[in-house]
């Protein structure tokens, strides 16, 4: 077995993108002889920062042999079954984007069409009531899957991970696994024929076969002149506020996103504090008003407040020359759906699939760039949906309704309005149930439903509905509350 060409990998950056990259590449390609070192730039995180994560992260943690209970104990993290989208103005009913299936198939057809039909016939039961995950979340419980619930449908979860502690934990793992770490205040980039010849970190010259740009702003990819496309015309917000509020007495099993006239404020519980994130538009809302809105919407005293610029957009290429950009360096997402770490993960999984196999890696690079563009655009579309179809009050949301949408998203919206189906596209990260949660949550009622479900006799359909509701109720009542689970699994470690 010959060593791969790109034997020396240097990851340059900070925070989760840096340490996830270093750990994942080290764990996956160490056996092939790849050596990973990290150049660590100063963290941009404060104690109020949080990584709210989506279900796929668990699998990445498993690959890194990160023990879930130990991680949550050490970072004071909690579980989350989804996000509750509420209208602070009270006009629209709140809805959950739960990380699990809504209903179970009938006669081999998706549940959703049956629900649409039943609703047209006067059913008053919400889509959420057919979801184990959503029902558990509403009751402050978790949903620990078993064979029966798996047969019913998927029940996934994410985490709320206090960011600075999570980064420390990942850094410790990297150090322990033999990643050479060098801290640097600043770097300079030296260009060569194949891309970046070396970086200079606080005066020290560092060469590599492959550089990973995990700097967030994209210091390396930028030096190579890779253009950045702004998504400012799609997303209304450009200002982000992060703050800390007191811990909830009982820890909800989900995050709450409250839409208000100036934007939205998200409350993300962890152990020891509640993390507050708010997105506003600077041209519509001066910073002082943003501060007031955050305090008023959350109804909680805020400390450790930071205001930052939010600038969603994507690089023309994720991989240029010998530099692969991961995380914010390639695609910066809006904050709404906690896409950031999913973006990092998508970039890393793709890189492992197309890691250079030989001296000419232009085919791998071109496939990686195609795959990343397509994946990130679908993630962007998923986020854009919520903004585009909202009917919340206020100038922020009016601007959101005018945002640009891609042809793919426009088609998806049109097809849902026509038939309630989600047009399938390649490289999509979110299940149709996630898309439907937003359409339904925003009150869009399709004109028709899948005609094939009319083959199911109405009585049979009603019986299945009753059975599902009974099953969900019974299963959820058996589940531990989030508080009690955290008590036994997480808090115990603190004695």
């Amino acid at each position: 077995m010959s060593p791969p060409l790109c034997r020396r990998v240097v990851v340059v950056g900070r925070d989760a993108a840096l340490w996830l990259s270093a750990n994942v590449i080290r764990a996956a390609l160490g056996p092939s002889g790849v050596e990973v070192s990290a150049v660590e730039l100063p963290s941009l995180l404060t104690d109020a920062d949080l990584y709210a994560t989506l279900p796929p992260l668990e699998a990445l943690h498993n690959q890194l042999r990160i023990d879930e209970a130990a991680l949550l104990r050490s970072v004071k993290g909690v579980f989350t079954l989804g996000q509750n989208f509420a209208d602070a103005g009270g006009a629209r009913q709140p809805f959950l984007h739960a990380y699990g299936a809504y209903g179970t198939a009938i006669d081999g057809q998706d549940f959703f069409a049956y629900w649409l039909k039943a609703r047209g016939l006067g059913l008053r039961v919400g889509l959420e009531d057919f979801s184990l995950t959503a029902s558990a979340a509403r009751q402050g419980r978790l949903l620990i899957p078993n064979d029966e619930t798996e047969k019913y449908g998927r029940s996934d979860y994410g985490y709320h991970l206090p960011a600075a502690a999570y980064v420390r934990s990942l850094r410790g793992l990297a150090a322990q696994d033999g990643v050479a770490i060098r801290a640097a205040e600043r770097i300079a980039v030296l260009l060569g024929d194949a891309g970046v010849a070396a970086i200079v970190a606080d005066g020290a010259r560092i060469e590599a076969d492959l550089f990973i740009d995990a700097t967030g702003e994209g210091l390396l990819i930028d030096a190579l002149g890779v253009a950045r496309e702004s998504w400012a015309d799609t997303f209304p917000g450009d200002r982000i506020l992060v703050a800390s509020a007191p811990e909830f007495a009982s820890i909800p099993a989900y995050a709450e996103i409250r839409a208000h006239e100036r934007g939205w404020t998200g409350l993300y519980p962890s152990l020891g504090q509640t993390h507050v994130v708010q997105v506003t538009a600077s041209s519509l809302c001066p910073d002082e008003e943003a501060l007031q809105a955050a305090a008023a919407t959350g109804g909680l005293p805020l400390t450790g407040i930071t205001l930052r610029r939010l600038d969603p957009g994507m690089r023309a290429s994720a991989w240029a020359g010998n530099v692969v950009a991961i995380g914010g360096a390639v695609a910066a997402f809006d904050r709404l759906h906690n896409i950031d770490l999913l973006g990092v993960q998508t970039g890393l999984i793709g890189l492992l699939a197309f890691y250079p196999a030989a001296s000419d890696f232009s085919a791998e690079r071109s496939e990686y760039n195609r795959l990343m563009r397509s994946s990130y655009e679908r993630l962007r579309d998923f986020q854009a949906l919520h903004y585009r179809i909202n009917d919340y009050g206020g100038s922020f949301w009016a601007r959101a309704r005018q945002g640009d949408v891609s042809p793919e998203l426009a088609h998806r919206i049109a097809l849902f309005q026509a038939r309630g189906e989600i047009a399938p596209y390649e490289d999509e990260s979110f299940a149709p149930d996630s898309w439907r949660a937003f359409f339904v949550g925003h009150g869009i009622v399709p004109d028709t439903y899948l005609p094939a479900i009319d083959r199911t006799a109405p009585d049979a359909m009603k019986a299945r509905f009753r059975h599902m509701l009974g099953f969900v109720k019974e299963q959820v009542l058996r589940q531990p509350t989030h508080d009690s689970y955290l008590q036994t699994m997480v808090r115990r470690g603190h004695g």
Partner: protein, 515 residues
């Protein structure tokens, strides 16, 4: 279109070949009878092309959806089993490989099999061809057949199967099935198509008898004529002969010969290629050729030389061109089958393309509310995905050849490829990654089979495979081949399996279509 919501939607299917009757059967199964009236018009005067007698494993999903008894269907259509397609001489004269219906090996350490194989090959291990790691290839080579095992841990679960059947008899079979379930069949030749002046939608057909048929939705299964989609609605044809230059076929049945092989054979010839499909009662043969490089006389001689039984009929000539219409659905007209597009039968895709269109149409079928442009847009998007991906796969068989000095093959070797295909080939060569998309034909394993079969070998592999220790890799590859061999050795032979399971009655020979 009517807006009277109290009446069922009237769906009129024009043409009764494989496409027409698959459409009728699929829709009558998938749609509620209270909401849709289904009528099929066919004319005994107009022959059907009887597209392909070989299928892909998806056909079983379609038949299962209809609730068709497999043994009965196989008896009625004189069917045999199919585990793949053997390509003879496509890379160089004399070379052969099987594109199997199944996977190569197993994923190990979370990494797809071909990377492990490529790793061992590049390390100089004596691992043998990729095809030695396919259960379906091994079973096909022994002319053996049994149903796959449902236990995913068993090596016998790693293949699927399709059928060879008499397409004319399949259409007959579905005609009986569909008419029993409420599809009205009208015999007659269409002499006039009437369009509504405002909407431009087709609203009425006139038959030679003078009878008129009104409808809300018209499904054009009229074959190459494309009576409604092409002629009436004027949807243009996108010509793909640049990449697929074959434009004629010559078909001829011969007597059955032994052994009864459970795979289709496609043999490259100087001016095109010949097919061989073994049914229970006869062998289907034919030659697909390019008129620019091969005369009809040459094609006839080549075909006669290629067959291994006695001719049962004179060769019959068909003319066509590869391509598809720009849209499959315009206004209230949907084209299914040859009316929508044509790809040569190299990978038995015609019947799959019909099936995919029927399922998509059932999902997107207009309701009593009327035609909805948004549903048509989705149908057209999926239709393009299906055709375009299939096209790239077919072109791969041609472009990657080393038959130097033969004008047709020199041409296709040197032609400019669709970018989407050139990229796929370059990627496989670089790192053994095969196309792995979610929607549309073909699967990763199919691409692998043809890439490797056409002589394209990877220079690298996914280095995640290195997580498996090298000694372990060699032992696992040996063990895999051992399990395949041991299991295949215990299989029944194909002819014996057919005789027990679904032997066609000899009396049924009178039902044989005039294919």
């Amino acid at each position: 279109m009517q807006s009277d919501r109290s009446k069922p939607v009237r769906v009129v299917i024009v043409g009764g070949g494989t496409a027409g009757w698959m459409t009728a059967a699929g829709l009558v199964r998938l749609l509620a009878s209270a909401d849709y009236d289904l009528t099929l018009i066919e004319s005994d005067e107009i022959g059907t092309v009887g597209v392909g007698e070989a299928t892909l494993p998806h056909i079983k999903t379609f038949n299962d959806l209809l609730g068709i008894n497999e043994a009965q269907f196989m008896r009625d259509t004189k069917a045999t089993f199919k585990l793949g397609i053997e390509f003879v001489g496509w890379d160089r004269p004399g070379d052969r490989y099987i594109h199997p219906f199944g996977t190569f090996g197993e994923p190990w350490a979370g990494v797809d099999f071909q990377h492990h194989w490529a790793r061992a090959m590049l390390a100089g291990e004596d691992v043998g061809p990729l095809f030695d790691h396919s259960y379906a290839c091994a079973a096909a080579a022994r002319a053996a057949f049994e149903f796959p095992n449902e236990d995913p841990r068993s090596i016998r679960s790693t293949y699927a199967y399709a059928y060879h059947f008499d397409a004319g008899l399949y259409a007959n079979f579905l005609r009986g099935w569909a008419t029993e379930r409420g599809v009205s069949r009208i015999e007659g030749k269409i002499v006039d198509v009437h369009r509504d002046g405002n909407s431009g939608h087709v609203d009425r057909l006139t038959l030679a008898s003078g009878a008129t048929i009104e409808g809300d939705i018209f499904i054009d299964c009229s074959g190459f004529r494309s009576l409604l989609l092409g002629q009436t609605m004027g949807i243009a044809w996108e010509d793909w002969r640049e990449w697929l230059p074959c434009d004629q076929a010559m078909a001829m049945p011969t007597t059955r010969t032994e052994p009864l092989i459970p795979y289709t054979r496609a043999t490259a010839q100087r001016g095109g290629w010949t097919w061989r499909i073994g049914l229970q009662h006869r062998t289907g043969n034919g030659m697909v050729f390019s008129s620019a490089y091969c005369s009809e006389d040459e094609a006839r001689e080549t075909l006669m030389r290629a067959v291994d039984g006695s001719p049962l009929a004179e060769p019959r000539v068909l003319r066509f061109g590869a391509g598809r219409r720009l849209k499959g659905w315009e206004g209230n007209v949907i084209g299914i089958g040859l009316a929508g597009g044509f790809l040569e039968p190299l990978e038995s895709t015609s019947i799959f393309l019909i099936q995919a269109a029927v399922v998509d149409l059932a999902n997107l079928m207009p309701t009593r509310g009327g035609i909805d442009r948004r549903l048509a847009d989705e149908f057209n998007r999926l239709y393009q995905v299906h055709y375009d991906r299939t096209r790239d796969f077919l072109v791969l068989h041609y472009c990657a050849n080393r038959r130097e000095g033969e004008p047709l093959w020199d041409h296709v070797r040197n032609m400019r490829l669709p970018d989407s295909l050139a990229h796929k080939i370059a990627l496989f060569e670089a790192c053994a990654a095969a196309p792995d998309y979610k929607y549309g034909l073909f699967s990763r394993d199919s691409w692998l089979a043809v890439l490797v079969g056409q002589g394209i070998l990877p220079r690298g592999y996914n280095r995640l495979a290195d997580r498996l220790p090298a000694d372990d890799l060699v032992a696992r590859l040996r063990d895999l081949k051992g399990r395949i061999r041991a299991n295949v050795d215990a299989m029944t032979d194909h002819a014996g399996f057919i005789a027990n399971y679904c032997a066609a009655s000899t009396a049924g020979a009178s039902l044989e279509s005039a294919a």
